[in-house]
């Protein structure tokens, strides 16, 4: 009895000392915090997670960033601000400063608002968000106010600005175009409204109806009937995600009651899932999107993604394709930031932030070879697409537009 007891003790001690010794000589692991919606009210976007994981493997194959391993701390935020804040706080407190140098994930508009003091003044960790919030990235916000916030597309009012200009060009009648707006009563949904009203007024577009539609609504007929009363020429919708049930409900109801009104949406309303869920009702709807589509295999970025997916032997169901691309985009952007920072020799949070700001990148060829500067903390590139229900795809109807240029 005694012999085996001591034997066990010796074994345990060796184990502890051994692993301690092993980690002594490790190069550090670079960690990128990544809260993303894998479930919850906004929908389940598992493709996003796959994108991150596959990029992590891709980087590992390349030997990491200057020999350092890169790990994405992917967690499910259930598209809920409280949950996401909890995740961010936990990761900040659990991971050492030298390792967790970047956040690159969903970062819902509400989270950005709630944590703006903490991230921009206290902790000072660069954060790349999927939110294109006007408040953080628009005219009133920007790098001076929120130096550590970055995003991956034009902000919502820029997106809507592009749509408004499209409407202006499309509207052939003499009377000013009448516009109805549908938005969700969330931070995300309300974000661009003020700017939109200003912009529309400048362009001579009349806003004749504004309706709130809750993200969990299962019936929107009363709102659509109200809109019908106002007889709009165009309808813009914003504040929803492709995984929400209300999206196809909205599309179908709008199509039935407003058969001749073109429907235009901002970035997250423009996803293949949206087209599929809406069925024939989604045919011909228009939207702004900052991503390339899966089927554009001529694009070098897409080719990379396809290659990597094949390498990992991952079959991406078409429903997850756009999220997979998004996952890769975010993950590569994060990795690129670390690359630049490593080249400059400073892999601290400050260093990564500077690297992001000063980088001029072409995103692995995503934007037809055009490079953009990240000085404004935004990727200003977007295209306008039209949906084809038969192909369950979006077809681009404009070339890549630089929002900063278009909206001067």
């Amino acid at each position: 009895m005694k012999r085996s007891y001591w034997g066990l003790m010796i074994l345990i001690c060796t184990f502890i000392l051994g692993t301690a010794g092993l980690s002594w000589g490790q190069s550090k692991t670079l960690k990128i915090g990544a809260p993303i919606p894998l479930g919850g009210v906004g929908g389940a976007y598992v493709g996003l997670g796959w994108g991150y994981n596959d990029c992590q493997a891709y980087l590992a194959e390349k030997g990491g960033i200057k020999g350092n391993k890169v790990t994405y701390l992917v967690e499910d935020n259930r598209w809920d601000v409280t949950t996401e804040i909890a995740i961010i706080n936990r990761q900040l407190s659990m991971e050492p400063k030298e390792e967790l140098v970047l956040f690159c994930g969903n970062l819902i508009t509400g989270t950005l608002k709630a944590l703006s003091e903490k991230i921009n003044k206290e902790v000072r960790i660069p954060s790349i968000a999927l939110s294109f919030s006007v408040e953080m990235f628009g005219k009133q916000g920007g790098p001076s106010k929120y130096p550590y916030y970055f995003t991956t597309g034009p902000d919502y009012s820029q997106q809507i600005g592009l749509l408004l200009r499209y409407i202006k060009k499309d509207h052939k009648k003499d009377a000013p175009a009448k516009l109805a707006v549908v938005y969700s009563p969330t931070e995300y949904g309300r974000d661009p409204l003020a700017d939109m009203k200003e912009d529309a007024a400048k362009l001579g577009i009349k806003i004749v109806a504004e309706e709130e539609v809750a993200v969990t609504a299962s019936d929107v007929s009363t709102q659509i009937i109200n809109i019908r009363k106002a007889q709009p020429d165009y309808l813009i919708w914003h504040g929803f995600l492709p995984g929400m049930l209300v999206a196809p409900v909205f599309l179908k109801t709008a199509r039935q009651y407003l058969p001749k009104v073109p429907i235009l949406g901002t970035d997250f309303q423009t996803s293949p899932t949206m087209v599929a869920a809406g069925g024939p009702a989604a045919d011909g709807i228009i939207g702004v999107n900052t991503r390339v589509q899966w089927h554009e295999t001529g694009n070098p970025f897409i080719r990379l993604v396809h290659e990597q997916a094949a390498k990992r032997e991952r079959k991406i169901p078409w429903a997850e394709q756009s999220y997979y691309i998004l996952g890769w985009t975010m993950a590569l952007l994060g990795a690129h930031a670390l690359d630049v920072a490593a080249a400059a020799g400073d892999l601290s949070r400050e260093g990564v932030k500077k690297a992001l700001e000063n980088s001029v990148w072409d995103f692995n060829g995503m934007y037809d070879g055009r490079k953009f500067s990240y000085k404004s903390h935004k990727v200003p590139m977007a295209r306008i697409y039209r949906a084809s229900a038969a192909k369950k795809e979006w077809d681009p109807i404009t070339p890549w537009l630089d929002a900063d240029e278009e909206l001067k």
Binding site: G40, S221, T222, Q223, I225, N226, K229, T253, Y257
Partner: protein
């Protein structure tokens, strides 16, 4: 005036599908004395069973619909057999609590198998859009109303004009008495749950056709609560009346009250109406009228 008519009849059409939902709840309550809190999940299961038959396996609608509803009936029977089972002599409350747990299990099961993203659900039914001047009643809404009314009538005919319906009425009134006359309450309860699940599943199908089918569709099931409480929890005509009231009230509130800034109020109004109704008629509008011999 047009606007009023548009909203009113739109609400009536929606109300008919609420009524069908309520019928399912009333049948279960009368037979098992339990309030089925899993009503939303039953809708989703019914919708998915039909989805598999019609959209995945491409069976024509007229075949997929009865088969899907039959599958829903079997599902309801299985649920009854495994979780409820004639618990005579046990308090009715325990059965209601079982349905609460059932709702969670089903909800998780649905999301685990089907995910939480919406599934395209567009039935290719003949276009019945009604247009009269500026009024428009889109085809899916009209179909929802027609199918709901049709199912409602079928169930009523079954209960009041066949001998199985008679036995359901008798057993719902008193299981011990039914036992004495050789009626097997186990079988009757099974039948009631199967029929109720068909109602709820059919309601799920027509509601999914208005948008898409996803795990979130179960939230519509909660609308059934004010419907049956207003109409009377043990009253079959009450379910229809309650459904129409809730449908119309929601629609009119959305049209006339919400523009004043009270967004989302239309979700609340049915409960306000319920409160008022209960003050006047504590058992609901058509709830049991006690028979008293003098």
């Amino acid at each position: 005036m047009d606007f009023f008519l548009q909203s009113f009849f739109s609400g009536m059409l929606t109300g008919l599908s609420y009524g069908l939902l309520g019928l399912g709840l009333v049948l279960i309550f009368r037979a098992s004395e339990a309030f089925n809190f899993a009503v939303g999940e039953f809708m989703v299961v019914g919708g998915f069973l039909f989805y598999i038959l019609h959209f995945s396996w491409h069976l024509p609608f007229l075949i997929a619909l009865p088969m899907g509803l039959l599958a829903a009936a079997v599902f309801g029977a299985i649920v009854e057999r495994t979780t409820i089972k004639s618990l005579m002599g046990r308090p009715a409350l325990s059965m209601t609590i079982i349905t609460l747990g059932l709702s969670n299990i089903l909800s998780g099961g649905i999301q685990a198998t089907a995910g939480s993203n919406p599934y395209t659900f567009s039935l290719d039914l003949p276009d019945l859009t009604v247009e009269a001047g500026t009024l428009i009643y889109p085809s899916p809404q009209v179909w929802a109303g027609i199918l709901s009314l049709a199912f409602f009538s079928l169930v009523i005919l079954f209960i009041y004009r066949t001998r199985w319906g008679l036995v359901i009425q008798a057993t719902s009134e008193s299981q011990p008495k039914a036992l004495c006359f050789g009626i097997n309450p186990q079988f009757v309860l099974l039948l009631v749950w199967a029929i109720a699940t068909v109602c709820i599943g059919a309601s799920g199908i027509v509601v999914a056709n208005l948008g898409a089918l996803s795990a979130q569709t179960s939230l519509v099931g909660l609308r059934a609560i004010p419907v049956v409480l207003i109409g009377g929890l043990d009253s079959i005509p009450g379910a229809l009346v309650g459904g129409l009231i809730v449908g119309v009230v929601e629609a009119l509130t959305g049209a006339y009250v919400e523009p004043f800034g009270l967004i989302g109020f239309k979700e609340v109004v049915p409960y306000l109406v319920l409160l008022i109704t209960l003050f006047i008629r504590p058992y609901g509008l058509f709830g049991t009228v006690r028979i008293e011999r003098v």
